[in-house]
Amino acid sequence: MTRFFRIYWTFASNQIKSNFVYKGRFYLFIIRKFLGMFIYYYLWMAVYAGTSSGSIGGFTRGEMVLYVFLSYTVSDIVMVGISSEIGKDVLDGSVALNLVKPVNYRLYLTFQSLGVMIYRVVVPSVFIWIGLEIYKVTELGMPVIRPLSLLCFLVSMLLSFFVYVFFDYCFGMLAFVTTYIFGMNIMKNAALNLLSGKLAPVSFFPPVIQEIFSFLPFTAMTYVPVMIYLGKYPGAEVLGQLGKQAFWAVALYLAGSLLWKKIEKRIVVLGG
């Protein structure tokens, strides 16, 4: 087990190091994140300015501020795509090099993503969270998050990561069939922004749609951890939601294994 981690951890750590290589990219990345979050923030504030009740879909204006920044940072951390990596590997044929090593391709990709995830927790999400917590206590007069809730939030986020990565692995298998998945990836991201709760809380949708969503894995990607942080789930339901996330992680993992078995036989290496 330790050997396992020593092997795969090197992929994560090298990925983290790679993220610091280009200075310009490093700073632009942070600026882009803030830009995205604030556009989103002002949009929602305009929406709230137009309502008289001060609450939409069970969210007060203050909670919406928290939701905006949280969902943005969480989805940024959790949704580290591996399908684009698979797509690139397939298109230029470098998948060959990954297959001649005594390494599991999916775990290799997963740990690379884990590296990116860890990097993104530090740059810059954790600082935004601290800022949010201060805002929450001073401006909204809400209590500081309890250690147990914080723990549940972190666990839930880790589960979200696995749900997304294993989902994206299945999606990435398409690259072996269609060769080019760049366009489909854009479509997928657009759909996920809506389905995972990144753009708007799922509780904003009509009840029927919410019902449908509850049978899909997508809310397990962003919405659940954010709602846990906001304390929107009463006691026992938190465990239920975590269980659901775990279920999807396992189910998508198994689906991925099945797909790989089917596809392994028909791999084509492009580019000679």
């Binding site: 092997i7 290589v21 060959a96 090099l97 297959l99 001649v100 005594p102 392994e264 290496v269």
Partner: protein, 338 residues
């Protein structure tokens, strides 16, 4: 067969691709047609390779060399036939097989692009579970034969092609594999780096008894490294023998270039043109080129004949080069309609 590290039996690989049509209308047509095309990349190939051999695996572009390598390294699954490497079926035991083999694809790199070169080796050390002692020993070895030290801490993307190739070769060898697949390891390299790479391959083969399979278009690679060559064309094996046998089979053609002291007169020229014994004769600026088969007449006899007719200033004897032989074999196989 016993003692074979690699054993291929009637291996065949087909690829199915969407059919494409030429031209603008063809590009649009391709969007709507679901037609598939079947291409046979490797067709019924069998051979065995013994431990410690260096085998040159050659063929023209698209002959199926890389596809064979990819099947032996477990990336591709043969359509039919069996392929065993170290007693394992590579594509069924990909991870296990990977521990026994090292692969270099000349056109790709397995080095970590954005990081210093040394990081790649620490990753590989973990992946293959190389012990600290072995790691140090092998790094010393690479330092000696590949001279990696000078750029060990440079970022991979800043390395020259020659440096990168040397580093890639070392990366494939870090775990001391039993079998080394080299797919065009000298592509695009200058003479000095080519020499260094060849030297390293030979040294590794001698020190560790590594079995090496080498595809290349540079026949000097073959001449300097391989005792045995396998030639394939259009997916079929067309020649498999030792290099010396190949030369015996095909290398009997010889040419001698003469430079005259004084230009021969008409009578002499007539005699030269008509020396008999299947000797070809072609005049050039200040001399002539004479072709013959060593099976029929010896070099000394030819020179004697010519010098009996005309006074000679300079002589250059040229044995058939491997390039010519291989060109011959390719063309013959095409001519036979294989």
């Amino acid at each position: 067969m016993d003692g074979n590290v690699i054993e291929l039996r009637n291996v065949r690989k087909e690829f199915v691709t969407a059919k494409h049509y030429p031209g603008w209308s063809g590009a649009v047509k391709g969007l709507f047609s679901g037609e598939k095309e079947k291409k046979v990349a490797v067709d019924d190939i069998s051979f065995g390779i013994k431990e410690g051999e260096i085998v040159g695996y050659i063929g023209s572009n698209g002959a199926g060399k890389s596809t064979t390598i990819k099947m032996m390294s477990g990336i591709l699954t043969p359509t039919s036939g069996s392929c065993m490497v170290n007693g394992l079926e590579p594509y069924r035991n990909r991870k296990k097989n990977a521990k026994n083999i090292g692969v270099v694809f000349g056109q790709r790199t397995q080095l970590w692009w954005d990081l210093p070169l040394s990081e790649t080796y620490t990753v590989l050390k973990e992946i293959y579970g190389v012990s600290d002692g072995d790691y140090a020993e092998r790094m010393n070895f690479f330092e000696d034969v590949l001279e990696l030290g000078e750029f060990m801490h440079n970022t991979v993307r800043t390395l020259s092609l020659g440096q990168r190739m040397r580093a890639d070769l070392a990366a494939a060898l870090l775990h001391n594999p039993k079998v080394l697949f080299l797919d065009e390891p000298t592509i695009g390299l200058d003479v000095v780096v080519k020499d260094r790479i060849r030297l390293a391959i030979r040294e590794i083969n001698e020190t560790y008894h590594t079995t090496v399979i080498l595809t290349t278009h540079d026949l000097n690679d073959i001449e300097e490294l391989c005792r045995r060559i396998i030639i394939i064309d259009a997916g079929k094996k067309i020649y498999d023998s030792t290099l010396s046998q190949l030369k015996k089979d095909y290398g009997f053609r010889c040419s001698i270039t003469f430079e005259w002291k004084d230009m021969p007169d008409e009578a002499q020229t007539r005699m030269l043109r008509d020396m008999g014994g299947n000797i070809g004769y072609r005049e050039s600026d200040k001399g002539a080129k004479v072709y013959f088969s060593k099976k029929e007449i010896s070099v000394a006899q030819v020179i004697g004949k010519v010098m009996g007719i005309v006074e000679v200033k300079d002589i250059q004897i040229k044995e058939t080069e491997l390039t010519d032989i291989v060109k011959d074999i390719y063309q013959n196989s095409a001519g036979m309609g294989v």
